[in-house]
């Protein structure tokens, strides 16, 4: 039996998962399937990479402390140990963590890619291009904002650490220019440097314009990161994404792992970021492989309300008389299905609300309820 699948009947997140898979595979990324569980030790030794989302643990039958994976990247990096050449993989996996607002653990569906190996400008442009194509697949207005930890480090200088650094990063994430200046004042730090940082963090707009403004900041005159950004942005602009890329230094994450590129994608119909990625060479090195790594994840769970599917447009109810045989009922239901309806069968004569069509099957055959 041939079944025609209408993609419109899928939820937005399900449709997206299928579209993303097609996009990633057309660029040679191979599907990667992993186990739901990992040994807890993998996460406890890389807790900085995970942030404060927590890890859900349990003891396995052999007494080992296991975890429901809170992250996909760590598993892929662990398994790439010993590989040679560049690995390009894509995945669609559930992860288990608390959301940014705290609260209880949640199952979150993510789709994404990882590129581990020899990462040059071409590979970087390809990953960012795939990020842009992923956002574009939502069919909403979209924007990919790129930041560079190297640029931020040049602005901040080397002597900021500990609590002050944490406070500073909170202000950077919130674009809180006043807070950045206050930290410098309270801690007797170089005000000029922090004014430059506050200005840089508040910049937002056309990527090349922002880079031009950043280049005028004295602390960034010899910053390699800006040249790297210029090269990447110029390539993406010429591929037709000028209106969809921005530079925004407030897009930051944990500095211990991200040393260069870091990016986040937004669409106009979801009030928070939906795509998160960056370059995490240090994590790969820590796990025993001396190469580059770049990837991103799309939070599919944030897309499920994008387009409400209007259930009930093509549904029908077939109410059967209990004297009818199962095969007669099944055949009658199939007959209705052939007319394009999804058919639910029931013997409950009271159940008719919420259906576009209601049919009855009795010894006299199938009749349609004209009043339904």
């Amino acid at each position: 039996m041939n079944i025609t699948i209408d993609l419109k009947s899928f939820r937005a997140d399900e449709r997206m998962a299928l579209s993303l898979r097609a996009i990633y595979e057309s660029y040679g990324y191979r599907p990667y399937k992993m186990s739901k569980f990992e040994e807890y030790e993998l996460y406890s030794s890389n807790i900085d990479f995970l942030g404060d989302g927590g890890v859900l643990t349990f003891t396995d039958v052999n007494g080992k402390l296991m975890a429901l994976k809170p992250d996909v990247t760590l598993s892929i990096v662990k398994n790439s140990k010993g590989s040679v050449g560049t690995q390009k993989v894509h995945y669609r996996e559930n992860v288990y963590r608390r959301n940014a607002r705290g609260g209880s653990f949640k199952e979150m569906l993510q789709s994404g890619i990882e590129c581990i190996g020899n990462i040059g400008t071409v590979e970087t442009v390809e990953v960012l291009l795939l990020a842009l194509k992923s956002l574009s697949a939502t069919e909403c207005s979209y924007r990919l904002d790129i930041s560079h930890i190297g640029v931020l480090s040049s602005l901040i200088g080397d002597d900021i650490a500990g609590e002050i650094k944490d406070e500073l990063f909170t202000c950077i994430k919130r674009k809180n220019a006043g807070g950045i200046i206050e930290i410098a004042t309270v801690n007797d730090l170089d005000i000029k440097r922090f004014e430059a940082l506050a200005y840089a963090v508040s910049l937002n707009g056309n990527a090349l314009d922002v880079i031009a403004s950043l280049k005028e900041i004295p602390y960034l005159s010899a910053c390699e990161g800006l040249n790297e950004l210029t090269e990447i942005i110029t390539a993406l602009n010429s591929l037709g994404y000028k209106e969809n890329i921005g530079i925004d230094l407030s897009v930051v994450n944990d500095m211990n792992y991200y040393r260069s590129l870091i990016f986040r994608g937004y669409i106009d119909c979801v009030p928070e970021g939906i795509l998160f990625g960056g370059r995490y060479d240090d994590l790969v090195k820590k796990m025993g492989r001396n190469c580059g790594a770049l990837g991103f994840a799309v939070a599919l769970d944030r897309l499920q309300d994008l387009a409400k599917v209007n259930y009930g447009d093509d549904n029908a109810l077939l109410v059967y008389d209990e004297n009818m045989s199962p095969s007669e009922i099944m055949n009658a239901a199939d007959g209705i299905r052939k007319n394009g309806y999804s058919v639910e069968i029931t013997s409950d004569k009271e159940k008719s609300s919420g259906f576009r069509k209601v049919f009855y099957i009795t010894q006299n055959g199938v009749t349609e309820d004209e009043n339904a």
Partner: protein
């Protein structure tokens, strides 16, 4: 159209006046009706009144593009929003206060009554102090008087309430004022409107200093 969440109450009304002066008026906002949403299509703004502690939630979740929230709420709930401007209004401080007779005994767990459990926890963690947080929703000052707690962590404006209850400030944790906050997605897709409003409001505030 910019959706703006204002905190219900005296501070919200003062903030609206600043927005009005900045060119974003919507006169019906101050009418004595029970309406909660007011719109000036010509100016491209829609105001709505919400509970002050809820402003950050409306903005973070995108029901409002921008809003005005106290620094205490931003620090307590850490919403993922942008903090674009200090409005220099609604100034007060978050402080630890205790009865005048209080003597800290580092040998025992300190009991702290507060509405702001995250701010209190973070502050005492930075002091490496073991504390027992007693979460209350109001009349915090009464807790040490009745022996429910040793200290309180609360907002202090003039200090009159503390004085009347024989309490005094021991430590100031942070200074608080009203902030203009923005949703992260709105900041990107309505950037020119948000930036224009922020700059106009900043100008009015600077002229008053």
């Amino acid at each position: 159209m910019l959706n703006i969440a204002l905190p219900k109450g005296r501070l919200g009304e003062k903030v609206y006046k600043i927005f009005e002066e900045a060119g974003y008026e919507c006169p019906s906002v101050l009418s004595n009706s029970r309406k909660l949403i007011f719109e000036n299509e010509k100016k491209g703004v829609r105001y709505f009144w919400v509970k002050p502690s809820d402003v950050a939630i409306y903005v973070e979740r995108g029901a409002a593009d921008i809003g005005v929230a106290g620094k205490d709420i931003i620090e307590e709930y850490s919403p993922e929003v942008y903090e674009l401007l200090d409005l220099n209004m609604g100034k007060c401080r978050m402080a630890v206060a205790a009865p005048k007779t209080f003597k800290d005994d580092p040998n025992r767990t300190l009991r702290a009554a507060t509405k702001f459990k995250n701010i209190a926890s973070k502050y005492y963690a930075s002091q490496s102090r073991d504390i027992d947080i007693i979460e209350l929703n109001g009349s915090i000052e009464i807790a040490p008087i009745l022996g429910l707690s040793d200290v309180i962590v609360d907002i202090v404006e003039t200090g009159t309430t503390l004085k009347e209850n024989d309490l005094e400030v021991i430590t100031e944790i942070m200074r608080i004022s009203a902030r203009l906050i923005s949703n992260q997605t709105s900041y990107r897709f309505k950037n020119s409107e948000i930036t224009a409003l922020k700059d106009a409001v900043a100008k009015v505030i600077a002229s008053k200093e």
